[in-house]
Each structure stands twice: as structure tokens, then as C-alpha cells.
């Protein structure tokens, strides 16, 4: 097995999916979390000048989704069938874009807390989040896992994103019982539950 070092800030954001895949697969890695003050010095050494970066035997692999997909494969979380793998890719892409929308349009908004909440509840939730929740709720109606008959990194992403969001916005999943149940199921998977309870505390999602 190669030596893995995942370099990121002390937040969930763009590295947490990879961390969940590492946990699920029981794969050892160094979970390096750097301080913002230390970033400017390191930036020039990182391909693309961005984090996260995954060092694989000291060679850098950039881009959070390339990293996550690679570790997902090592962890047995990517289907063998090309088309099923593509459905996983599509779900992850959609949900990551949703996460980024929440970060950019709500979390990073230069406004008071009340205004951020308003934007979230009156704009982002009904226009962006609910349509996706609706789609997922339908998809999960008669299935154990969202793609094929195995746990995939798409299931992990559902548990990760909607777990984090529903902690901050408690009624988010009220109308989407299949998604709510799925989030709980994923978060209860032994290695994931272990990581959630024992992993570093991060405020920033």
C-alpha cells in the first residue's frame, strides 16, 4: 500500500469525503491539517496552488474529487461497472456543487447571521437544495444503496453532506424521509460512526 498524506485545512469542506473513504476502507493515512497562517509558504509547492492535495508516496495529486474518487476505489466504494461508476460520479458532482453553493451563497455571504439564514431558507433551500432532495428521495424509495446493490462513495457523500447540513438546519430533511433514513444508515456504518465520533472536531463544513 502506498504512503498517503492528505493535506488540507482544519475543516470538512473539500477534504471530508476523502477522509470518509479512507475511514470506510480502513486505509491508513496522515490527516495533515494546516493552519491558515502557514498556507502562504506552502502554496507555491502545491500543484495548482490549492488544497486539498494527496501525497501518494510523496508525489502530489491535486483536486478534491480526483483524490476522493481514487481513495474510494482503494476502499471498494466504486462499482466495477462503468455506467454504475458514472452514476456515482454524477451524484457526487451534483452534491458537491450543492455544497459549494451553500458555502458561496450563504456561509461566505458578507451579511448578518439573520440575512444568511434568510438567504438559505428562502432562496437556496427551495430553489437549489429541495429539488435535489426530491430526486434523491425518489431514487432511494425501494433501494438499500443509491447506485447498484453496494455501498458506494455516492452514499457516503449523501450521508456527509446532508448530515452536516441537517445539523445546522434541523428541519431540512423533514419532507424527505428516505434521504433522512439513508443519512442515518450511512452515518451508522461502523467505520464512519467511529470517524464521526473520534475524528477531529471541525466547525467549518
Amino acid at each position: 500500500m502506498p504512503e498517503y498524506k492528505l493535506i488540507y485545512f482544519n475543516m470538512a469542506a473539500r477534504a471530508e469525503l476523502a477522509r470518509w473513504c479512507f475511514a470506510y476502507g480502513g486505509i491508513e493515512y496522515e490527516d495533515k491539517r494546516i493552519e491558515f497562517e502557514d498556507w502562504p509558504e506552502m502554496k507555491a509547492d502545491m500543484p495548482g496552488g490549492q488544497l486539498p492535495v494527496l501525497m501518494v508516496d510523496d508525489k502530489p495529486l491535486p483536486e478534491s474529487l480526483a483524490i476522493s474518487r481514487y481513495i474510494a476505489k482503494q476502499a471498494g466504494l466504486v462499482p466495477e461497472d462503468d455506467l454504475e461508476a458514472a452514476y456515482c460520479d454524477a451524484i457526487v458532482d451534483t452534491l458537491v456543487a450543492l455544497h459549494m453553493t451553500v458555502i458561496e451563497q450563504v456561509m461566505m455571504l458578507k451579511a448578518e447571521c439573520e440575512e444568511k439564514k434568510r438567504v438559505m431558507m428562502e432562496e437556496v433551500v427551495p430553489n437549489k437544495i429541495n429539488p435535489r432532495l426530491n430526486m434523491l428521495n425518489e431514487k432511494l424509495e425501494d433501494r438499500d444503496w443509491v447506485v447498484s446493490d453496494q455501498t458506494t462513495w455516492a452514499d457516503l457523500q449523501i450521508g456527509l453532506l446532508f448530515g452536516m447540513l441537517s445539523e445546522k438546519f434541523p428541519d431540512m430533511l423533514a419532507d424527505y424521509p428516505n434521504v433522512s433514513a439513508h443519512v442515518e444508515k450511512v452515518r451508522a456504518l461502523e467505520p464512519i460512526a467511529e470517524w464521526i465520533s473520534n475524528g477531529p472536531e471541525t466547525e467549518i463544513i
Binding site: 495529486l61 491535486p62 483536486e63 474518487r69 481514487y70 454524477a90 458532482d93 429539488p131 430526486m135
Partner: protein, 204 residues
């Protein structure tokens, strides 16, 4: 095994569908290239998530431009078997895809006058967004023919498409990056790609 029936639905635009189209072409894979004209409001309802492109595979929809491009790239033999090599291709494609809003929203469909667009390219987009990527790629490609050295991958196709596109609007883009220019040109010269480029509908 028989090949599935493919239908790709998008606007009459390159943008987020062209990488998939180029992979189809490279693999000699038949598909219906459905270009929506003028009736997006009507067609939107039939698209899952209300977005395009959508790839129908035996009638079942696959969304997200990079998921479908990666899938067709695999069918066309453009994705390496080794997981780590595949990941490096994924990474550069993601980076290049990140340039799409700059190219399409700011330059091609932007509201600025042509002279202002050139200024935006020259003073901001080229030095700040494109050159850092070009620099990295030029170094990597200095000793090898393709992004992954000995095989053409969808990474090379993406490099050729994206930087070819920018160069259409900023012709001196690749002057300082001859190794990237080599890949841009060599991809376009591959027989099935050359054939596709010469016969595809003219659009942005």
C-alpha cells in the same frame, strides 16, 4: 456485447458537451448528437435536474458533464487502467473544467466590448488563470508526448479543447508554452478527431 444506444442532449454549443463529443469521435462510437435550438424552456422539463448536457444510455439519463465524459472516455479507451494514473487525468480535467466559466461567461458570451474582453484576457485571465496551468503542463510535457507519457488519454483531449478554445480568442496564448501547443495540435491531428472537427456543426 452490443453497444448501448447513446443520445447526447445539449445546446448547439461546444462548452460542456464537447469533451464527450470528442471522446465519442476518438472511439468511433455512434451516438445521436441532439442540439437543442430555441426551445430550451420546453425541453428543460424533460431534463433531470433541469440542466444539460444529459446523456441517454439506452434511454436512461446520465447527468453531469464530467461524469458522462469520463464514461465515454472509458468506452473509447481513453482512461488508463491504473487507478493513480486515472486520478491524475481526473485532476487535470477538473482543473481545465474550472476554466469554463472564464472562457464562456466572461469572454465568449460576456457583455464587454471586444476591446475590453481583450484587456480582461491580457491583464487578468491569461496571467492569473491560464498561465499558471499552462506553466505546469508545459513542464510536464517537455519530455513526453502526452499527459501520461505513452498513451493518449482524455486528459490530452481536454487540454487540446480548452486551450484551443482560449487560443481562438487570444492567439498568442501558447507562444511561451510550445509543449502544450504540441499536444493541442497533435490531438487535433489524430485522424478521428481531425475528421470530427472538419465535419462538426459550426458553433461556439
Amino acid at each position: 456485447t452490443t453497444m448501448p444506444e447513446y443520445k447526447l442532449m445539449y445546446f448547439n454549443l461546444q462548452a460542456r458537451a464537447e469533451l464527450t463529443r470528442l471522446c465519442f469521435a476518438y472511439g468511433g462510437i455512434a451516438y445521436e448528437d441532439d442540439r437543442i435550438e430555441g426551445t430550451w424552456a420546453e425541453r428543460k422539463k424533460e431534463m433531470p435536474g433541469g440542466q444539460v448536457p444529459v446523456l441517454l444510455v439506452d434511454g436512461k439519463p446520465l447527468t453531469e458533464s464530467l461524469a458522462m465524459a469520463r464514461y465515454i472516455a472509458k468506452q473509447a479507451g481513453l482512461v488508463p487502467k491504473d487507478d493513480l494514473q486515472a486520478a491524475h487525468c481526473d485532476a487535470i480535467v477538473d482543473t481545465l473544467n474550472g476554466m469554463m466559466p472564464d472562457i464562456y461567461q466572461k469572454v465568449i458570451f460576456g457583455k464587454l466590448e471586444p476591446a475590453e474582453k481583450q484587456k480582461l484576457l491580457k491583464e487578468d485571465l491569461v496571467p492569473n488563470k491560464f498561465n499558471p496551468v499552462l506553466n505546469r503542463l508545459n513542464e510536464r510535457l517537455s519530455n513526453q508526448d502526452w499527459f501520461l507519457s505513452d498513451m493518449v488519454t482524455w486528459a490530452d483531449i481536454a487540454i487540446s479543447f480548452m486551450f484551443g478554445k482560449v487560443a481562438e480568442h487570444y492567439p498568442t496564448l501558447l507562444n511561451d508554452y510550445p509543449h502544450v501547443k504540441k499536444v493541442v495540435d497533435n490531438v487535433q491531428a489524430l485522424a478521428p478527431i481531425k475528421q470530427y472537427i472538419s465535419t462538426r456543426p459550426k458553433c461556439n
